[in-house]
Symmetry: C2
Subunit: 135 residues, 2 copies
Amino acid sequence: MKYSRQRELIYKTVMENPIHPSADTVYALVRKEQPTISLGTVYRNLNLLVREGMLQKISFPNVSDHFDGRLEEHCHILCQQCGRVYDMDSPRLDIAALQKRPGHFRITGCHIYFTGICEACLKHFNQFESEDEFL
Amino acid sequence: MKYSRQRELIYKTVMENPIHPSADTVYALVRKEQPTISLGTVYRNLNLLVREGMLQKISFPNVSDHFDGRLEEHCHILCQQCGRVYDMDSPRLDIAALQKRPGHFRITGCHIYFTGICEACLKHFNQFESEDEFL
DNA sequence: ATTATAATAATAATCATTATTATTTTAAAG
DNA sequence: CTTTAAAATAATAATGATTATTATTATAAT
């Protein structure tokens, strides 16, 4: 893997942001420092970094994927009002004790997603804000 | 909500299939009984049934959404080999005890997704099969 | 400095999903 | 039974997110 300024910026952007940005948001943020970067480069590098195990990809229904630089086991919660994704500490899960359905599965990952309304949105004044506020 | 043969077929198809079919798979299955049905009708009705609480939508990274007619709390596991989605019984989760991150969240849902390799794929002979086998 | 490799920007293409619209079904009222 | 209004459909176009292509540029090893 050869160095590139673009990849470094993309990685730094995801690591330093608390919002688990979507590819689009990463694009908007990185463009401030590197206005010529292209969206394809953002997608390619995000996926590359996920494949290399340096980031993880988060999928919720009906919203585009988000990216997270925190690698330890933890969960995420999507605010249904503003669409932001937050971290949550993991509940204790006894995976060994899980009853599996169709025979034997080799489990390779566990992802716990919550949905809800975040504190900001509960506080009535920010009903319709979104990730954009972080740009 | 007015009756339609198409919606009944779509609903029956999801309910009777153990594979949590994607919209595309529902389309292929329903077309056998109603060859003139259109893909838009399938999407519209699946989403309608989700909104009405009769089905749930399942999202994993990198694969299209799947639909499930089983409504009680349970988890899902995606086979990374064949792409099928299976049911799993829920591990016990003490949601009340969860430490929340940014202040107070109103939690409205919890979705636990596993990834792994299913029994069929572990048995070496079906490395590359997919949902299509169920059509 | 030269050169092979990998990465990029720009753009086109794809895939999943949603919207539009003219036509057909449904079901309720006369 | 017809008539009629509302809702649903099929067909198709449009959108949005993501991936692929390609010619050019940057990286890093020789």
